[in-house]
């Protein structure tokens, strides 16, 4: 009989194994079900993201290999680009190309830093734990291949997890100097915090010891800073100990230096446009076709003009060619140099022409001082300081009245017998004319007239009426009466002068200019077209400008010329005729007289003309201020107002004015945009010792006697190979990029305050940490200021002593205050930017 099955006891092990197998299977099924019914791959997430990343819902946003879809994450098991996920971080966190380097710093910075620290490491005992770590798990290989973001920033640790927290030991694993804590063997500070000099040159010692007491004694009412907080403030950006604005601190004593009130010698304005003084006699002797040029000018070619002329290759070559030439003494100049000077003259004329006929912005727009970057409209506005066109026009009309014709007709060889329109200058340039220059018939009336004209022109008369810094009426000169007599005699010669002038004008066209054009590079069609256009413009304006020019050239002889009828029948104006209005674009509606005013002026002119004729008849010609003004400006004066204020003083609070043969700009005060923009623009193109036009502007504006005195306080950094910069911007959080050390003053104020109250530290305020260096005041001042005489910002001798590690250690030790690495040091030295989200504007 077969034994019943029930009688055989079940093996518990087999039951257990069955249960185990079933449970394992159930686990697989549960996992699969949970995975299938969960949203995306969220089920697989090991933990919530930190709150800063909480909005990220798609795993593939960070885990690049996981992709979208339920099972795509399995692709992650296949080897791929190990750096891909870290690069995904940079989608939102903008970092430099060196993002995956240690500290995200460049290799050069790391090497420099490591080399420096190696010396310190030799004297620092290495803790046992550090040695063990270094032996067991060295980090060289890890770092060499680049550090992933997740090395330090481990996600999925919970909403409140601090992603930026990092253990001191992790920092230590890479560093060559290994120590346990700040209060153990942290290296001593090296000249902290003077890694670079302050941007503002402010001699604390000199002010404390000398200037403040002196000012207090001299001007008791003046407010002298009595606490550090009068000038320093760290409230706006806690990472930076900022200096209070200029107008709250330095302005009381230093504003006058900026606007030039305290300037004892030299012009108070910056010569922007000049007609440089030339050795006209030599140029004439050498038959240089410079055309009309004021011989009396002693101005230098302004560096700004050098930049404007040097805006193209040809201009740069020209500036280079005349660079070493003494323009006012060309006796030893070679033919090439004479040729270069001649070309320069025409470049200057073209520049003036362009500034009048076009827009100032057009002239500056193609300046090649910004590495080919197009200048913005705002910058051009700053670079020109919104110079009024009429300032240039009036200057041109006084200095180069025939400019339009000259540009139209071009330069011509100034053969003495042909250069009638320039002989006025040429002959006047020689007080003792040589025999060759003064032929016998020079004693003729015509020559006398011309001589008189030139004299009247070359010696700028005293201004009797001016507006906006421009002279409207000039005081008559002593020899004007004589000139009038000569003019009367000239009438008899039947306009010979005009004939000569006209001949010169007619002969001069194009020959030399065409020569210039021939010199132009092949590709300069545009320039040729401009020139042709200028010629066309000039043709229409020729008669007017001729007359005007003649009138302006010869104030005293004006009436004579005006009355003279040229042989060729060209229209000239009589004295009682209204001067032809300049091209519409050369007038200023605001400055031009109204119709009513014009009628009054005409009536006045008629009266003056008849009076003159009467006086001429009586042999007594008195100067006519209105006529003079008309001649000077080309625009009928609104009113002749006498003023004792010279143009420079007129522009006391800044702006444009004209003096001698220069158009000058006087700084408006602190933060003058004109100076600022030129310095900012030219600095990067102006390495120290460079002779480029840009460097010339930079050197001019940063000279110790420069107007505006910007660099008296704003230090100049020489960026090796990258030009120079003037430190206008105060230090900011951004400017601290690249630094390994952080310091925030704010909590230390509290700590020092508490310390003082409870008697731990002395009641010395800021001087608790910043101790004035112990040296004679003169020596301190001298060393301090000397450190700014060179361009390296890292070379610095402060008025204050360095901050010692021991001082920090008073509080930052194991028992009092934190001393972890990241308290004072930052890891990503070049910062991490999180740009604004790319949000589309909602549409209706």
């Amino acid at each position: 009989m077969r034994r019943p099955k029930a009688a055989t006891p079940a093996n518990p092990n087999s039951r257990r194994d069955r249960l185990a197998s079933m449970l394992a299977l159930a686990t697989v099924i549960c996992l699969a079900a949970a995975f299938l019914f969960s949203r995306d791959t969220q089920f697989l997430m090991p933990g919530p993201l930190a709150s800063v990343h909480g909005a990220i819902e798609n795993c593939s946003a960070c885990h690049t290999k996981s992709g979208t879809g339920k099972l795509r994450w399995i692709h992650g098991l296949v080897a791929g680009n190990p750096r891909a996920d870290s690069k995904a971080c940079l989608t939102c966190h903008k970092m430099p190309k060196t993002a995956f380097n240690a500290h995200s710093a460049s290799n050069a910075v790391l090497k420099e830093s490591t080399d420096r620290l190696r010396k310190i490491a030799a004297a620092t005992p290495e803790p046992l734990a550090a040695r063990a770590q270094d032996s067991a798990f060295p980090t060289h290989d890890v770092v060499a291949s680049g550090l992933d973001c997740a090395t330090c920033h481990q996600e999925h640790q919970g909403v409140h997890f601090n992603l930026t927290k990092i253990a001191n030991e992790r920092c230590r694993s890479c560093h060559v100097v290994k120590f346990d804590s700040f209060d153990s063997h942290h290296p001593k500070f090296e000249n902290y915090p003077f890694k670079r000099r302050t941007r503002i040159v402010y001699d604390h010692a000199g002010h404390f010891d000398k200037h403040f007491p002196e000012v207090a004694e001299k001007y008791p009412a003046k407010r002298i800073p009595d606490t550090c907080s009068a000038c320093h403030d760290s409230r706006s950006d806690k990472r930076v100990m900022a200096v209070a604005p200029f107008d709250k601190t330095c302005t009381a004593c230093h504003l006058d230096q900026i606007v030039g009130k305290e300037r004892a010698s030299g012009p108070k304005g910056i010569a922007f446009l000049t007609l440089p003084g030339l050795d006209v006699k030599v140029l004439k002797d050498k038959n240089a076709a410079i055309g009309e040029w004021p011989e009396a000018s002693e101005a230098e070619l302004s560096p700004f003009m050098k930049v404007m002329i040097g805006r193209d290759e040809r201009g740069r070559a020209l500036i280079k060619a005349v660079d070493g030439v003494n323009l006012q003494d060309l006796s030893a100049a070679s033919d090439d140099q004479i040729k270069a000077v001649t070309a320069l003259v025409w470049e200057i004329k073209r520049l003036f022409y362009a500034l009048i006929s076009g827009k100032a912005s057009d002239v500056l727009a193609d300046l090649d001082v910004g590495n080919g970057v197009k200048l913005s409209a705002g910058l051009i506005t700053d670079l020109t300081a919104s110079i009024p066109r009429d300032v240039v026009i009036s200057a041109q009309q006084e200095w180069l009245p025939d400019l339009a014709a000259e540009i139209a007709n071009g330069p011509k060889a100034s053969a003495p017998e042909q250069a009638g329109w320039s002989t006025a200058i040429e002959e006047a340039s020689s007080e003792e004319p040589s025999d060759a220059d003064a032929p016998e018939d020079d004693t003729s009336v015509e020559a006398q007239v011309e001589q008189t004209v030139s004299k009247a022109k070359l010696d700028p008369p005293v201004c009797t009426a001016s507006i906006f810094g421009q002279c409207l009426a000039f005081k008559a000169q002593k020899d004007i009466a004589g000139a009038a007599k000569a003019k009367a005699a000239a009438e008899e010669t039947g306009g010979k002068t005009d004939e000569t002038d006209d001949a010169a004008i007619e002969n001069s066209p194009s020959e030399a200019l065409e020569g210039e054009e021939a010199d132009l590079p092949e590709g300069s069609e545009e320039e040729k077209a401009d020139t042709a256009e200028a010629k066309a413009d000039a043709r229409s304006a020729n008669s007017a400008s001729d007359t005007q020019a003649t009138a302006e050239d010869a104030p005293a002889g004006n009436t004579g010329n005006a009355n003279a009828k040229p042989d060729d029948g060209k229209a000239t104006l009589s004295a009682d005729e209204r001067p032809p209005v300049k091209a519409a674009d050369q007038t200023d509606d605001l400055l031009a007289p109204t119709e009513q005013e014009r009628r009054a002026i005409e009536a006045h002119n008629k009266h003056a003309a008849s009076a003159t004729r009467d006086k001429e008849a009586a042999g007594d010609v008195a100067p006519d201020l209105s006529a003079a003004a008309e001649l000077q400006t080309g625009v009928a004066p609104v009113a002749g107002i006498a003023s004792d204020v010279d143009p420079e003083s007129w522009a006391e609070y800044g702006g444009w004015y004209r003096q001698d043969y220069a158009i000058l700009y006087r700084p408006t005060g602190h933060k003058d945009k004109f100076i600022y923009s030129w310095l900012t623009l030219t600095g990067p193109q102006a390495p120290k010792g460079d002779t480029s036009p840009a460097a010339a502007v930079f050197d001019f504006l940063t000279h110790k006697d420069a107007q505006g005195s910007c660099t008296k306080c704003h230090s100049v950094d020489d960026l090796k190979g990258k030009g120079r910069i003037v430190n206008f911007s105060p230090p900011s959080a951004e400017s601290k990029q690249g630094r390994f050390t952080n310091f925030i003053h704010e909590p230390h104020f509290q700590a020092v305050g508490i310390g003082q109250r409870i008697g731990i530290v002395e009641n010395r305020g800021c001087l608790t940490c910043h101790v004035l260096a112990k040296a004679p005041p003169s020596e301190k001042t001298s060393l301090y200021l000397k450190s700014y005489e060179q361009g390296n910002p890292r070379h610095f001798v402060s008025n204050f002593g360095e901050v010692k590690k021991d001082l920090c250690q008073t509080c930052h030790n194991v028992s009092t205050a934190r001393q972890d690495c990241l308290l004072c040091h930052k890891y990503h030295v070049n910062g991490v930017d999180t740009p604004i989200m790319n949000t589309k504007i909602p549409s209706q």
């Binding site: 067991a136 997740a150 230590r172």
Partner: protein, 294 residues
């Protein structure tokens, strides 16, 4: 029937106190060493979770090997005992690895919770099993010759034996004329009130679970008290009954502990299987979503 300690026959239990102390120290030292290693590894700009994670996975794998070996290989008894000792030691070390891997914190997500709960369940059941082994040795040994499956039969034998003792009639005493006290009735009452129930099945489960000998003492005290009032013959009978009671109590104890020993394995082993599945899934997910810094 003999009841002997482990020292003599290799029964379940610990070593000597000194040996146990050494064992604890070794476990503690290895655990501290593991923590230190993980810390140093992490400080070396690596993700320490990969190190302790793999230590954990390797340990679980080793335990599985133990389980398989115990199931399949015909190990000698001594070898099996040694193997089990290693299993327990590795189990303790895995607790350290798990604490390190979970960073002494609770999980956040369901999958992590499943892993955590599985491991904790396996660990607790293992610890419970180890405690059982220790408590047996610490309190009372179990004669391993008494198999768990034979206990009911033996208990039934004891019940029959005690019934036989009770039912055995005492010979009349000829020397005493006076009527004898009803000794037999007293013993019969004892049997009826206490012993019959006691011998009928598993009793005092809770007391045995916590190692209390109170119920046994109460019963033997009852027997001893009665023994003072009976004649020599009845005394001998009561002594025999007491011996049977004590043996029944040991059987109950063995039944409880051997039952628990088998019971905890019904948790420990199947949950280990589930844990193994979860661990494999965990490793796959971790490597699929790894972002450098291993």
């Amino acid at each position: 029937m003999r009841s002997v300690g482990r020292q003599s026959n290799g029964s379940i239990g610990g070593r000597s106190p000194a040996g146990q102390a050494v064992q604890v120290l070794v476990i503690a030292a290895i655990a501290i060493g593991l923590f230190a290693l993980v810390s140093v590894y992490g400080n070396g700009l690596r993700d320490p979770r990969y190190l302790d994670g793999w230590v954990l996975a390797a340990g679980i794998g080793l335990q599985l090997v133990f389980h398989t070996a115990m199931k399949t290989a015909r190990l000698a008894r001594r070898s099996a005992l040694r193997f089990r000792t290693v299993h327990i030691l590795v189990g303790y070390l895995l607790i350290a690895a798990f604490l390190s891997h979970s960073d002494f914190s609770l999980p956040d997500t369901s999958l992590e919770w499943a892993l955590w709960a599985s491991f904790v369940l396996v660990t607790l059941s293992g610890i419970f099993g180890t405690y059982l082994a220790w408590s047996l040795q610490a309190k009372r040994g179990i004669d391993e010759r008494v198999g768990y499956d034979r206990i009911p039969a033996r208990r039934a034998e004891l019940a029959r034996e005690v019934h036989a003792v009770i039912a055995k009639a005492a010979p009349p005493d000829a020397t005493i004329a006076l009527p004898a006290p009803p000794y037999h009735a007293w013993i019969a009452d004892l049997y009826a009130n206490h012993l019959r129930d006691f011998f009928q099945g598993q009793r005092n489960f809770t007391a045995h679970l916590v190692g209390s000998r109170g119920p046994l003492k109460r019963l033997t005290d009852e027997i001893d008290t009665l023994s003072s009032y009976v004649d020599q013959e009845s005394k001998a009978k009561l002594a025999a009954i007491k011996t049977l009671v004590e043996e029944k109590d040991r059987l109950d104890f063995a039944r409880v502990y051997l039952g628990l020993t088998k019971g905890w394995l019904f948790v420990h082993v199947p949950v280990t299987y589930a844990l193994t599945v979860l661990v494999v899934a965990h490793i796959l997910v971790v490597y699929a979503f790894a972002s450098g810094a291993w």
